[in-house]
């Protein structure tokens, strides 16, 4: 009994010694997070495969060969071919290039623009914030898809116009998020303290306000990439998106659709699975980021 009593005391003093030793240096925050790691690994593998597509397939994704149409899986064609004899594996890899690129760009731009607009709207008083927020109300009063489709229709098909259309519509939630966060933040003492130190409003906004509110927008952006991917694929599926010779997942689904009744599922199912995997990876990253960034509050 006396022996067991001694152990915790010794342990405690050891721990105390450890604290004293490391106390002078700032503690390292824990960055590792299982969800982020899993999500990044999944997304990383997919992204690498897409980037290094020429190394993983020798086929041209647009090369047609009607003699080889509708082949099943074989060593020559890993996932078979479609009705025009194009290699599905190659189309899958090259198709991701434009889809993922546009999806990510169409998140990054609204994230930056929306966050800045929201911070401005929250930080200042007066006419400018009112204009920003009423304009946001105006944009969000239209159904999201309808507005995107109309814009793509006006701007014409293709990756660039999809990017512009999505960016023009999806800055609204970022603006709302960052305005709300800024309204809370601007009454905090350290913002007053910054002003008291003689910093200009612009400096306070970019150096202190935006870094403090950015995390919410970034977490939202992760799920927004998934939404954008969905929009791009949907538009292409309806023939409004990427122009046909360029391979694209939505178009692949559309191409395969007519064979579903005949019992050929792979043409439609394969791109769907890839999109689900990407969505899953981004959800993991988003959840993980939300957890990590929450700690700071």
């Amino acid at each position: 009994m006396p022996e067991t009593k001694k152990i915790p005391v010794a342990q405690a003093s050891k721990d105390y010694a450890k604290i004293k030793l490391t106390g002078s240096k700032p503690r390292k925050r824990k960055h590792a997070n299982a969800e982020i790691v899993i999500g990044c690994v999944m997304l990383g593998i997919i992204a690498l495969m897409i980037i290094f597509a020429p190394l993983l397939t020798s086929y041209d994704p647009t090369h047609q060969s009607l003699r080889e149409a509708m082949l099943g899986s074989s060593p020559a064609h890993l996932l078979g071919t479609d009705q025009y004899g194009r290699d599905i594996w190659a189309r899958l890899l090259y198709g991701g290039r434009i889809d993922l690129f546009v999806a990510i760009m169409a998140v990054f731009t609204p994230l930056v623009i929306g966050t800045i607009l929201g911070a401005v709207a929250g930080y200042f008083d007066g006419v400018v914030p009112t204009i920003i927020m009423r304009f946001a109300d105006l944009v969000s009063s239209f159904p999201f898809y309808v507005l995107v489709i109309v814009l793509v229709f006006v701007l014409g098909n293709g990756g660039t116009s999809i990017f512009i259309a999505i960016s023009a519509v999806s800055w609204v939630p970022y603006t709302r998020i960052s305005r709300g966060e800024t309204l809370i933040l601007r009454d905090r003492e350290f913002i007053a303290s910054c002003k008291a130190s003689g910093f200009s409003d612009g400096w306070v906004l970019f150096r202190h306000v935006i870094p403090n509110i950015a995390s919410q927008g970034i977490v939202y952006a992760m799920s927004d990439i998934v939404v954008n991917l969905g929009i791009i694929v949907t538009l292409s599926y309806f023939g409004l998106g990427i122009v046909p010779p360029t391979p694209d997942w939505g178009q692949m689904m559309n191409d395969g659709q007519q064979f579903l009744a005949a019992g050929v599922y792979s043409l439609t199912v394969i791109p769907t699975i890839v999109i689900i995997l990407i969505s899953l990876a981004l959800s993991f990253i988003g959840d993980g980021l939300a957890n990590v960034l929450k700690v700071r509050r």
């Binding site: 002078s24 240096k25 700032p26 503690r27 905090r188 003492e189 350290f190 007053a192 303290s193 910054c194 002003k195 008291a196 130190s197 003689g198 910093f199 400096w203 150096r207 202190h208 870094p211 403090n212 700071r296």
Partner: protein
């Protein structure tokens, strides 16, 4: 009014008072009506002097301090009077919207709660460096060196390591030191203190007060707002007692503590009974910390 007519005898600077608040009136919104919260408040602080502004919660002392800094919270409005820092009118008939040009180098402020007065996601060293770079236009390396010197001067041990710490990694006392370091970074002529020791325990409080003492000794005018008479007795030479937005008593520490004229001051002093007795017994201008 009378002070304005007195001839200037000092020749070095072109102002006698580093901080001059004259007949300041501030209104606040209360249930949709504007009511006066600070009434004809006059405080003058000379360079190197530390002046205590004592009053209870809601008496208008923080409002006054923030007016000097130009930080009006929602629902507070300047009405009349003027505030001069180093002879320059920052708030008054000629500058009704507050002139921020004196912020930083002319006037700085140490806040009550350092936990919220520092940016939570910025390394503390950079918060000092920023102030230096903005006002003194130093290079990054120079500013870093100065920041570390400043941190050392306010009693932060291992300033080089602490430079890269985030505010949440520091103790309350350390955070307060960082904030003081940031506020004196540009050698302000006037330092406003909004109860900077209230959130700290007594031993740390004494160390922080020593730092303020040395800041005042270096020629900075200190306006120290608090409800704690013990702190005032340790730090200040002169004090004003504020009650419901009005100065009810002012004078040297000795005069106010020994021969209070106003009823409220007497009540305030008697609410901390040991102080008055000790003042008489010690017969000095400062009270040592009670055993």
């Amino acid at each position: 009014m009378t002070a304005a007519t007195t001839a200037k005898t000092t020749t070095e600077p072109d102002y006698e008072y580093a901080l001059e608040i004259v007949d300041l009136c501030i209104d606040v919104d209360k249930h949709g009506e504007r009511v006066p919260a600070v009434k004809n408040l006059t405080i003058r602080v000379r360079p190197g002097e530390s002046h205590g502004l004592v009053g209870e919660s809601g008496s208008g002392k923080s409002l006054t301090l923030r007016a000097v800094m130009g930080l009006f919270s929602k629902g507070a409005y300047y009405r009349s009077g003027y505030i001069k820092i180093c002879g320059k009118e920052v708030l008054g008939p000629n500058a009704p919207d507050y002139d921020p040009s004196m912020r930083g180098k002319g006037v700085a402020m140490a806040f009550q709660e350092p936990a919220v007065a520092l940016n939570p996601i910025m390394k503390v060293g950079w918060q000092i460096v920023d102030a230096l770079r903005e006002q003194e236009h130093l290079s990054r390396a120079e500013a870093r060196k100065r920041a570390i010197e400043l941190m050392d001067s306010v009693g932060i041990t291992n300033p080089e390591d602490r430079f890269d710490a985030y505010p949440f990694e520091l103790s309350g006392g350390m955070r307060q030191r960082v904030m003081i370091a940031a506020s004196i970074a540009c050698k302000p002529k006037v330092l406003l203190c909004d109860e900077p020791t209230t959130a700290l325990d007594v031993t740390i409080q004494e160390q922080i007060l020593k730092i303020f003492r040395s800041i005042a000794d270096s020629g900075t005018a200190l306006l120290y707002v608090t409800h704690d008479l013990a702190v005032v007795s340790q730090l200040c030479e002169t004090l004003s007692v504020i009650y419901h937005g009005e100065i009810v008593e002012e004078g040297t520490l000795r005069k106010v503590f020994d021969t209070p004229e106003d009823d409220y001051t007497r009540q305030l002093l008697s609410s901390t009974p040991y102080l008055k007795g000790r003042m008489r017994a010690a017969g000095s201008d400062t009270v040592r910390k009670g055993e």
